[in-house]
């Protein structure tokens, strides 16, 4: 068996975990956030292995969901989506809100979901909190991007958590 160089092989890819950028707006005294889909966001940490990057990405995502209101990022519903949300809440052990309890400032027949979340969030278990996020259209805050180290062939690949 021939002698190998003492220097470890240089990894070909660097896996960046990026925090997606959001624009913040004020709506009815509450902050709401939106983003342009093409915006990429800020690199948070990089890894030489994809699995490590994905694990870190998932942990960052979980932490964000534990700490933040989903309705800060998800405030304009399609009817079908709201129907799905209302239908899914009992399965999480949660009573769906009504427009009478939480009327929207814009239109009383609609539910002000941010106010509902503010009211129930302190009493939610981690599973219920995660479950509400799961009932909403995919909102994510981090992603993994593979880029080349200097000197390698070019190419970029992206993964959501």
């Amino acid at each position: 068996m021939g002698k190998t160089s003492g220097r470890p092989p240089r990894p070909k890819k660097l896996y960046l975990v990026q925090r997606l950028g959001w624009n913040v707006w004020e709506d009815g005294g509450r902050p709401v956030c939106s983003r342009a889909e093409e915006d990429c966001g800020a690199p948070v940490r990089a890894f030489n292995g994809r699995k490590q990057a994905e694990a870190f990405c998932r942990e960052q995502e979980r932490q964000a969901r534990r700490e933040l209101s989903p309705f800060q990022f998800h405030y304009d519903f399609a009817e079908e989506e709201e129907t799905k949300l209302i239908a899914g809440l009992p399965e999480l052990g949660l009573q769906p809100p009504t427009p009478e309890e939480f009327p929207s400032a814009a239109y009383e027949a609609l539910i002000e979901w941010r106010a509902w979340w503010d009211a129930v969030a302190p009493g939610l278990t981690d599973e219920q909190r995660e479950g509400v996020w799961g009932l909403l259209e995919d909102v994510h805050f981090f992603e993994v991007v593979a880029i080349d180290w200097e000197g390698n062939a070019s190419g970029v690949t992206r993964w959501k958590p």
Binding site: G21, C40, S69, D118, A121, P122
Partner: protein, 242 residues
């Protein structure tokens, strides 16, 4: 001993962003400074936190609901403030108490200890934290900034960009970045629109949101730059490793 990682204590700013009178918490943190001991980092964090508390109305953070600011319900917050010798606001004409207005009016008359007691109760409004981190190697990543058009001017994405190439050497990254910018500017010269670029939101995001208000639309218009002043690529330093 081989394999023992050197630890640093990093003071990090939580990702609060302001819009109008509101403050929104976004995911993640920004590392500001690292210290060799926890005590040094904690002293720095306390100083920064105290400065932020001089500037921010905590009842505007996260929205009007107290649950965004404190783990106490309204009744217990009420009692806490009475115990601190303060008179909490009352609901008026069926509307909930206006805590933000109360803070604006009452803060000037509070003692330092009373202010501290209020902030102690508002346990969900924190601006800085200390994180224990192993020292890690860094890479220098050249990122391509995404620009979008609003029918009037081009707007840079608020943070970061599309990762292009990673370098271990900072100067090599800067050289590559300059080269990419030159190529991008050449390509933009052929564009069939007025070239006006707005970097102000990006600059605001890179700065300290606790001290600098986001630019108004008028300020953004006044700050537009031409092709030579715009950046299409930047170098971002990022830690590598678990």
């Amino acid at each position: 001993m081989a394999g023992k990682k050197e630890i640093v204590y990093a003071v990090e700013r939580l990702n609060w962003r302001r819009s109008g009178d509101c403050w929104a918490r976004l995911p993640g943190t920004t590392r500001l400074q690292s210290f060799p001991t926890f005590e040094q980092a904690e002293a720095d964090r306390r100083r920064r936190e105290a400065e932020a508390r001089e500037r921010v109305n905590p009842f505007l953070c996260g929205g009007p609901a107290l649950s965004q600011q404190t783990g106490l319900d309204e009744g217990r917050l009420h009692d806490w403030l009475l115990d601190a010798g303060l008179t909490p606001p009352r609901p008026r004409k069926g509307r909930p108490a206006d805590w933000a207005a109360w803070w604006r009016q009452a803060r000037g008359g509070m003692t330092a200890l009373q202010r501290e007691k209020v902030w102690e109760a508002l346990d969900k409004v924190r601006f800085f934290e200390v994180a224990e981190r192993p020292k890690r190697p860094v890479a220098y990543v050249v990122v391509q900034i995404h620009w979008r058009y609003n029918d009037e001017f081009f707007i840079a994405e608020p943070e970061g960009g599309q990762g292009d190439t990673a370098f271990r050497d900072r100067q090599a990254a800067l050289d590559h970045c300059d080269e990419c910018n030159d190529i991008a500017r050449s390509a933009w010269e052929d564009a069939d629109v007025d070239l006006a670029f707005d970097l102000s939101l990006r600059r605001a995001a890179a700065g300290d949101p606790l001290t600098t208000a986001p630019p108004s639309y008028e300020q953004r218009q006044a700050g537009l730059v031409g092709l030579e002043g715009a950046a299409f690529y930047e170098v971002v330093e990022v830690e590598v490793g678990p």
